[in-house]
């Protein structure tokens, strides 16, 4: 079987689709969760130091980042359940 024949058998669309989705979801969820951890940690520090504005921004970042994580997981499951067209 030649390389050209093998290349013609490859499901390139599926490979690209799954690789891009994996990159966005895998790295995206990890980065979003790291941002949430960062926000929570900074919020705790700001509360101890009495910096309410910085604390508010930090907890806001944590909430948005956690919501992004949750949304990514829910969207992933919903897409999985729906049939591929």
């Amino acid at each position: 079987m030649s390389a050209l024949t093998v290349a013609s058998l490859v499901d390139a669309d599926g490979l690209i689709e799954s690789s891009v989705a994996a990159l966005i979801a895998g790295a995206g969820v990890t980065i979003a969760f790291a941002l949430a951890v960062y926000g929570l940690s900074r919020f705790a520090d700001a509360r101890q130091g009495g910096a309410s504005l910085a604390g508010g921004a930090a907890i806001g970042l944590a909430i948005v980042a956690l919501a992004a994580c949750a949304a990514a997981v829910v969207a992933g499951i919903v897409i999985m359940v729906s049939d591929r067209t």
């Binding site: 490979l15 799954s18 790291a34 951890v37």
Partner: protein, 365 residues
């Protein structure tokens, strides 16, 4: 009558394969959570088993690929499917016995392809499905997992690197309940469907199910129960290879590896690729390890595991072909399949007996 007996044996062996698949893969699924101490082994096993069961219900694309796109379902018989299953099952248990991480998926595909070639020749093997949906994704997916795992941990460390390590570790351990759960769902989705797919293949081959009919609910339920039971039974012996020997990881790396692994497996399941979840998880763990420090990954062990993967397809194909050959010695009826199943069961029982005498796998916590 004879066909019904053979079909019943195929369904039973397919479910046993599903159980061994979960049994074989438990370690891959839980090692990351255990090694970072996010969960105790007992909790991790139960948690993973429940979510494996749930995951098996969310997609059917992989089952369709296994049933319709690897071999010509119209050209094979239930005996061929049975021989393939015996090839896969034997290889799964052999690698478990020796503590080697292998790929249940490749064992299944290899077994079925081997027995099909032995029975009707290579013309019944669907090259487009085998190459395009199995072989190429088998190589690409672990590499994608490795790269994504490395990218994810690099960004994560950049974000949390300046923070106090204690709270960060605790937060990521907590996060691993979600990422580990998602990985278990992903595993249930991809691997649960392999059992469903091979039962479907046998049903179509037997004429019980039309070529364009969907997966019956009892097949989905049975596949889900098999994978969950197998996961619960666990493959404790392999934990030492997967979780501890490849790399020592921290909670952030564990989270990155699990998120990456589940993203790759779910995305691939969506497009119908029957992946080796073992390979993907190993790739993600190595990527998350290499993202911190290349020397942290024990590449020698990773090489040994890769070698075992390479051997899986031809070895299970060989056993599948041999099983078909033995079965044919007894003619077209049910005697051959019964004999070959009994022979495989006897060999497996001898293996387990020896294992019991010379030391059982690492027991559940």
């Amino acid at each position: 009558m004879s066909d019904d007996i053979i079909l019943s044996i195929v369904v039973a062996i397919a479910l046993v394969f599903g159980v061994t698949n979960g049994f074989h893969d438990t370690a891959n699924l839980i090692a990351t959570s255990i090694s970072t101490r996010a969960m105790s082994p007992r909790v991790a096993v139960a948690f993973t088993a429940v979510l494996n069961f749930a995951g098996a219900f969310i997609s059917l694309q992989v089952a369709e690929t296994v049933a319709r796109e690897v071999v010509d379902a119209g050209a094979v018989t239930p005996t061929v499917v049975l021989a393939g299953l015996i090839g896969a099952l034997s290889w799964n248990l052999l690698t478990w016995y020796h503590g080697l991480p292998s790929s249940s998926s490749h064992a299944l595909i290899g077994g079925v392809v081997g027995s099909t070639i032995a029975a009707v020749g290579s013309g019944a093997v669907l090259a487009e499905g085998l190459v395009g949906k199995v072989l190429v994704p088998a190589v690409v997916a672990p590499l994608v997992a490795l790269v994504v795992g490395a990218v994810a941990i690099l960004f994560a460390y950049r974000i949390v690197g300046a923070l106090r390590p204690g709270p960060v570790t605790r937060a990521f351990r907590l996060g691993q309940w979600a990422s580990g759960g998602l990985l278990a769902i992903a595993h249930g989705t991809n691997d649960g469907q392999k059992t469903m797919g091979v039962i479907m293949l046998a049903l179509i081959a037997n004429g019980t199910l039309g070529a364009d009919e969907g997966v019956p609910f009892w097949v989905v339920l049975a596949g889900a129960v098999a994978i969950a039971l197998g996961t619960y039974a666990g493959g404790w012996r392999i934990i030492r290879t997967m979780g501890m020997r490849i790399i020592k990881i921290d909670a952030a790396q564990g989270f990155a590896a699990q998120s990456t692994g589940s993203a790759v497996i779910l995305a691939s399941s969506y497009v119908g690729f029957p992946l080796s979840t073992t390979q993907v998880i190993s790739g993600a763990v190595m990527g998350a390890g290499a993202g911190k420090r290349l020397s942290a990954v024990r590449w020698g062990m990773a090489g040994n595991i890769a070698l075992a993967w390479l051997v899986t397809l031809p070895a299970s194909a060989g056993i599948g072909a041999l099983a078909y050959g033995i079965s044919r010695l007894f003619g077209d009826g049910a005697v051959g399949p019964v004999v070959v199943t009994a022979l495989a069961a006897a060999l497996i029982a001898i293996g387990f007996g020896r294992r019991a005498r010379h030391g059982a796998p690492v027991p559940a916590g």
